[in-house]
Amino acid sequence: MKKLINNPQHVVDEMIEGYVKAYPEYIKQRNENKRSLVTSRQTPDNKVGVLIGGGSGHEPAFMGYIGDGFADGVAVGNIFASPPPDPILETTKAIDKGTGVIYLYGNYAGDIMNFDMAAELADLEEDIRVETVLVTDDVASVAKGGEDQRRGIAGGFFVFKAAGAAAAKGLPLSEVVRIAKKANSHTRTMGVALSPCSLPQTGEPSFELGESEMEIGLGIHGEPGVERGKVQTANDVADRLLKDILHDMPLEQGERVAVLVNGLGSTSRMELYLMFRRIEQQLNQKQITIHRSYVGDYITSLEMGGCSLTLMKLDDELADIVDYPADCPMFVQK
């Protein structure tokens, strides 16, 4: 696949360079570790630090979400690979204000090992309290009953936002953790892939799909999904994604949700709005209220084609958290 890159070995570092230069008023790169990015703004004293992260290739996640009301720092990994402990630790040190740091990332074995090592070092060497909340929103990855083993995909956006808002409100670490966990447990995602992405280093498609095939439940690193079939209409795909989510997290009439229709990279906004249109029709018919909608590319897989649907079930506390403003390079909410 054709890409606008230089040396494939350097894409991540060069991306960070470009990113930091584009938004100096938001972001700074730590001298101590170039894979450690933190807010360049003054944050309130005693604010709990919010650290998100994971592999690269999911832009605007994660580095796009550093800013007011969202994350304070990001540790950047190689493409689709957890960051090592070093940048995580470095970021932790930079954003801790004595009130502790929350780590938020998708539930992947590699990430857990690296983040846990960093948390251990933060505790031992730096005396920083670290708490971890894993994102486990992908309904397709593990059947009902095994919710906490599920992998984390686009729903991370809501979980990160929840923690970011809670911390910005000045809540203590235990509360930020509680709210992040609650956001995660109220969040479900189902995705569909229409075309693969390719790693800059290999140039090989991450998976192969026939000319008219799609795959339901595919992961955001190209990990296989639950079902492969013929491409269907936007309405049928939307219905399917919604059905799987509602089967997993039933919603009563009168309940409220936040909706995220997330593009995986190369899918046009036109298609995302067609998907949203159907979701809205169906929720409306079930008398479920959409409190707020997000439609666009929020957590991608390079130039993968397809999208995911995420619902977060809201109570007053989570509705408030969703409405909390944010100001980041790639996401501003007033």
Binding site: N78, I79, A81, S82, P84, P85, D86, M113, S206, G219
Partner: protein
Amino acid sequence: MHITASEFKSFLHRVTLKVEEKKDDLSELDRKLGDGDHGVTMSLGWQAIEEKLHTDLKDETDCGYICKEVGKAFINAVGSSVGPLYATGFLRGSRVLQNKSELTDDDLSAFWVAFIDGIQQKGKAEIGEKTMIDTFMPARNTLQERITAGDPFESAFEKAVQAGKKGMESTRDLISKKGRSSRLGSRSVGHQDPGATSAYLMLEVFLSTVRSAQRV
């Protein structure tokens, strides 16, 4: 037999070459089972080791120190799943080799046992879960058995490599239970595990290093 620090470094260097040679195959296996980057990741990690060997460790002769630095270089270059696993292996190995610049048969087998046990303890994978452990664990067990039975290191390690090979090959027919590929369930059957494959390459290169060291 004795392995000098410089031979130990040469082993590491040869693994780098081998990984470079096989990286596309490793990524290809990972495309089938995971996210397609295993060759890329291993290459990044071993290139970082190579770089370390040419700079900070250029004149270093303490194999324990070498191991420690190599482990840190690896994990900091890659993160990922293999980063913490291999780093832990090297860090555990480094304790065994501390302050040693000549490695005896006992050192070598203690190193490999510590290295592999470290990986196992970090990743908590068991044999049969379709990971690098399917290569490493049988190799470790065979090595220890043969050494206990009185075999000289080289021939014990040869048997260990054979056991590792069988383990690696066994992953083809296993259902993955660890890491990304565990999400595939039965769809993971039919493809050899990339991590088990690169683990075998490492063992194989060590054997040939030992052999050429013997010949000198």
